[in-house]
Structures are given as structure tokens and as C-alpha cells.
Amino acid sequence: MNQPTPIRPIIDRSEPEETLRMVAALPAPAGLEERIHAALEAAPASPKILAWPAQGGALRSWMRGAAAAAIVGVVAGGGWAIYSRVQPAAGPKMVELPRVTGSGGFSSAGAMRTPQTLSAPAVAQPAAPQAPVEAPQSIQAKKPAHRRAARPAQP
């Protein structure tokens, strides 16, 4: 009977951790604590760059208020200087919009203007009769007669 072959070789899970444990257990160098003590003593106990002077009671509070007021004044003055120099561009004061007629109202869009006629004075003699224009008849006469004759009779 064949033995089932393992898909992958069995690895002891603790094997890699043993290496890491050895790394973690490496001793610290000698004199480490002394060097750190020296570094801590050499370091300033408190940051001095932005430290406000500790002495001065009422004077200190007065100076602090004055400094705050000066800062506010400088910021506000600078802002006003910029605002007063930069003017917005002058635009049109009034814009005429097209008139919109109501949907149900009357419109004069298609209206034709006719001049007002004056009442003319009465003519003494009637005008001479003109010859009647016979253009429509002559046009009809030009149509060929045979076409009308050739049209089939309606049933």
C-alpha cells in the first residue's frame, strides 16, 4: 500500500521564530544606560525657543494683551490695505432684458402698419373708364382644348 505523499514538506512552524527569538535576545551594548543618562542631562529640560518669561505678574499680562492687540491691528490693517487697493471692475449698471409677453396675451408681431388716410376732397369729374383687363380670360384661352377633351369621363 502506497503511503500518501505530502503536498508540501512539513516545516516546523517555530523554526523561523527561533531565529527571531535569537535576534530579540541579543544583548544591549555595554554602557548604554550611562550614555542615555548623559544625553538626558545634556538635553535642555524644557524648550526655550517659545518660552514666555516666567517673571513679571501684572506686567506680563499687560504685555500679553498689548501684543495680542498689536497682532490683531496688523492683521486687520493689512487686510484693509489690500481691500482698499483692489477695486472690483465696474460692470454695466443696468441690463436691459428682452420683454417677454405673457403666454395668453396679444402680440403685435404679425401686425401690418397701415398709414392713416386723409379724407380727400370730392372729385368734380368722374374719371374716364378704363378698358377692362382680360388677362384671366386670355390665360384660360391659351390652355389646349384637346386636353380637356381627352380627359376620361368620371364613372
Binding site: E15, E17, L20, V23, A25, L32
Partner: protein, 186 residues
């Protein structure tokens, strides 16, 4: 001339804080160094990291009294420092660190040939650790410190204990796969 009682109190408080800080250095400097070295793998960098950690403590020494577990708190500080340093330092190739470290690991009672084989094995393991995803690698590195429980590792990393366990499980499986693959390639 009289000395104000407030000034005396301040001096006493400062003296107490300095004494407490000195005690912390004496007690935990070695542990912090080992934690820093396990990540940075360089003695000078590790010592610098420990010094920086204690300088941070010095700056916030007023809060020392509020800290419940000083050991976990300090390890967390140095852990953040070394991770930050490692992220920024890309100049030195890691293969050099691994080879150096594998050589210094203890191999007592072994012949020269066995010592070379052991160094090669350690180097392979450390290279596989570097290939792990960040979260799994962090848990695996910290779990190598026998003095740290899973609760304390969770405290250092700012995660839950169950997360520590699941990450460690994943890390072990990944390491087994990586080592199998490395052996197959060889």
C-alpha cells in the same frame, strides 16, 4: 531672604521626575534597545532610537504619573520611532544587514561548517520576514520577545488581542510558504 514655598515644591517635583526618569532608563533601556535592534538591525541606529525615545519622555515627563504600564508605553514610543526611521532610511540595502546579523547570531558548539550553514539559514529566515506584509511582520517581530504577552503586544500596536492572534497565525502560515518556496528555488 525667604524662598517661596511654590518654588520649593517645583524643585522637589522636578527632582522626583528626574529620579523617576533615571529609574526608567536603568530598568528598560536594554529592552528598548533590543526592540529597536530587531527592526533596524543596526547597533548605532538602535541606540539613537532609544535615546530619542527617552528624550521624548523627558519632554513629557509631567505625564509620567498618568501612565499605567511604563514598559508597554516605552516600547510603544520606541516602536513608533524605529518604524518611522526604517520608513525613511532607504539608503542601506537590507541584504547587508541580514548577512551581518546572521553572522553575529549565537552558534555555540557548532563546527565551522555548521556555523556557516546556520548563518545561511538565519539569513534566509530574516529575508523571508522582510517579505511579510507590514502588519504580520510587526506582530511576528514583537512576538519574538518572550517578555511580551499578546495583551502587551496589542497595547504596543494599538490593536485588539484577537487581532494579534489572527495576524500571528497568518504570519506563521506565510512564513512557512515563503520558506518552502525559498528551499524549492535552491
Amino acid at each position: 531672604m525667604e524662598i517661596a514655598p511654590g518654588a520649593v515644591r517645583d524643585q522637589t517635583r522636578q527632582h522626583d521626575q528626574q529620579a523617576a526618569l533615571a529609574a526608567l532608563v536603568d530598568e528598560y533601556a536594554s529592552t528598548l534597545y533590543r526592540v529597536a535592534f530587531s527592526v533596524l538591525r543596526n547597533a548605532t541606529d538602535a541606540e539613537d532610537a532609544v535615546q530619542e525615545a527617552f528624550l521624548r519622555v523627558l519632554r513629557h515627563r509631567d505625564t509620567l504619573g498618568e501612565v499605567r504600564d511604563h514598559r508597554v508605553w516605552l516600547i510603544r514610543i520606541v516602536w513608533n520611532i524605529v518604524l518611522d526611521r526604517k520608513r525613511r532610511a532607504k539608503t542601506r540595502p537590507e541584504t547587508d544587514d541580514i548577512a551581518d546579523l546572521a553572522r553575529v547570531l549565537p552558534a555555540r558548539g557548532l563546527s565551522a561548517e555548521d556555523r556557516a550553514a546556520a548563518a545561511q539559514h538565519h539569513a534566509r529566515v530574516l529575508a523571508c520576514v522582510e517579505q511579510l506584509p507590514g502588519k504580520e511582520r510587526e506582530v511576528m517581530l514583537l512576538s519574538a520577545f518572550e517578555e511580551l504577552s499578546s495583551v502587551e503586544i496589542a497595547g504596543v500596536l494599538g490593536i485588539t488581542e484577537s487581532s494579534v492572534r489572527s495576524r500571528l497565525f497568518r504570519a506563521r502560515n506565510l512564513m512557512a510558504d515563503l520558506l518552502n518556496h525559498a528551499r524549492g528555488v535552491k
